[in-house]
Symmetry: C2
Subunit: 337 residues, 2 copies
DNA sequence: ATTTAGCACTCGTTGGTGTCGAGTGCTAAA
DNA sequence: TTTAGCACTCGACACCAACGAGTGCTAAAT
């Protein structure tokens, strides 16, 4: 049953025990600790030799020679995979009831989801709104306001509206506004943001008088797209101080530099493999800048539409069981909405 | 010339020297250090006795008995008052040229003012938009969109527009939209936000059919006011790590808790005495939660209109000269715009 | 072939001790 | 009032010993 490639059952058990213990205590685990708490019917010597081979295999490391073992990133990955493959493990019931007592309606949950996740998991959370690729412009309208000024509205399919006042050009065209609205509608309505942004529309001759207007509208759309894409909401930054590894200023620095770097967060969370539900990034090996931290996130849909990603960021030594449960639970709430 | 109430010239000189030195080095200053750098023609013993009395007077303290002196909040205040009263001290020329090389147009500066202040001073900066008290509603318009939906626009005198889509009530009134616009204009146009929010309008009989609409509009206005008021932009949080006192996690924690607490920031910066140009809050005595930090801020106008406050937050041991110069310089740029 | 008891070994932690030197306060003379 | 001089304080640093938690290895037991 034991071979070099896989892990024997006993080794798996030891590995799980060790990660479990380290997650709650943040202290190196000794062979005798494992014996006492998890495997009383085997001697410490045996455990020690198993630990030695697990270390050789890259799952563990020792802070120093006469200390216990500490899990490596590889160990955390093993641990997470274990959780993910055995769904039954997750105690969603408990999470669900916590959510139920705190929040009355699902709508509230969506709105505050980042804050909820942070509160329930006790880690810093992040919510990133999904890409704008399938946002469609429903309508563009120009509304006359007062002397020479007009308001441009861009209405999209996800309910949001971007507006801006512009100065109207001096013109002698009759019904300028009316004509403009017709043209704008024909040009933009029904098109996706990406299409609009990437197409270099040639204004045909009859549109000359509207060139300036079109340019302004186009810029609005581009701005809107950019603003949408870069939005990340972070909640509960202070939670990090609950964990002893962040008594070291360098770790705090690292944490803040990641959390404040939106581009980096996007990069880390957005797997090339877009199909997987959960993204779990652990430590340096997954991303150099992560250092001793981990990011767990999930993709969500709301009312069938892709909504974005929601996740937590915390120490490598993270309570993955809890985090994954919570993220999963929220996901089902969203989808069943 | 020396009396118990005021400070002798020599004591002032010593005090200034000490604060100056501590601001740059963050280390306790000894009597001999002062002698060497600032007062070579007097003995250390003399300086020591002066230091002792300054300590009695509450300007200084000793980390421990065989260490040099460190300035207290009181000393910083003395130092700042000194700067403020002797305008000529400020080397605005230099600051101005720095700003000039970095930014081409004044408009850019306004937009990025928080970032600029943080970069130039090397401290964390904050920009808070001024109160909404004198924002006036210019117009309220309802615009028919599509089947039963309408867009409500609120136009204010500071150029901004708040919009939201609402569902129109089922009605059999002719020209519902037109009538509504008339009513809305008569009710809201020209009024200040505060007035509107605090008046409990009784809807008169003829308005019954518009009750729901009015309620929605009113809520929009309230939301708008709240959102405006709570907006604080913070830039350069990471800058804090440049200062050695923030190698202690507790100080970082304190820093973050203040910087993330918008209400607190408002409270600290908004003096009762609304007339003063600069607000300088130093340490615990000014506000318990400040701890060992200081906040310097100034009120600004832009194109004659009150714009808000802009300031920096950093260690008590702050380069007040530089900070005040920068804030002042930006102020004149704004006002001369 | 595994497991285990036993033992030597490693090394971080803790606490004690001694020395150095920066800096002070005080006193007595200038 | 200033200053030289001196005793004193106390943190920083280095060194050392003892402790103990934990390991790896080996040789015997299963």
């Amino acid at each position: 049953m034991k071979d070099n490639k896989g892990l024997s059952e006993r080794r798996k058990k030891i590995l799980n025990a060790l990660v479990d213990s380290y997650i709650t205590n943040a202290e190196p685990i000794s062979s005798s600790a494992i014996k006492d708490k998890y495997m009383p019917d085997v001697s410490t010597a045996t455990i020690r030799s198993e630990l030695a081979t697990l270390e050789e295999m890259g799952y563990l490391s020792q802070p120093h020679i006469s200390a216990g073992r500490v899990p490596s990133s590889k160990a955390y990955k093993f641990y997470v995979d274990n959780i993910l493959s055995s769904e039954s493990q997750m105690d969603t019931q408990q999470i669900k009831s916590v959510l139920a007592t705190k929040y009355a309606s699902i709508k509230e949950i969506v709105k505050d989801s980042a804050k909820i996740v942070s509160d329930v998991t006790n880690y810093t959370s992040m919510l990133m709104i999904s890409s704008t690729d399938n946002i469609v412009v429903n309508d563009v309208k120009v509304i006359d306001m007062y002397d020479g000024t007009a308001l441009v509205l861009i209405v999209t399919n996800n309910g949001s509206i971007k507006d801006k006042t512009i100065k109207l050009p001096e013109t002698n065209i009759n019904n300028y506004i009316e004509v403009a609205n017709g043209l704008l509608y024909r040009t933009f309505a029904g098109k996706r943001l990406v299409e609009i942004v990437h197409s270099h529309n040639v204004i045909d001759a009859q549109l000359r008088d509207f060139e300036q207007l079109f340019e302004q509208v186009l810029n609005m759309i581009i701005d809107y797209k950019n603003a949408r894409e870069s939005q990340i909401q972070i909640e509960g930054k202070d939670k990090i101080f609950n964990y002893p590894e962040y008594n070291d200023v360098n770790n705090v620095k690292n944490f803040l530099s990641i959390v404040n770097d939106q581009e980096k967060l996007h990069e880390i969370v957005n797997d090339k493999d877009g199909s997987i539900e959960f993204s779990v990034k652990i430590g340096k090996e997954d991303d150099e800048t992560l250092g001793d931290m981990a990011i767990v996130s999930a993709k969500y849909k709301f009312s069938g539409e892709e909504m974005g990603q929601l996740g937590v960021i915390g120490p490598q030594r993270m309570d993955y069981k809890k985090v994954l449960s919570v993220l999963k639970e929220i996901g089902t709430l969203f989808e069943n909405n």
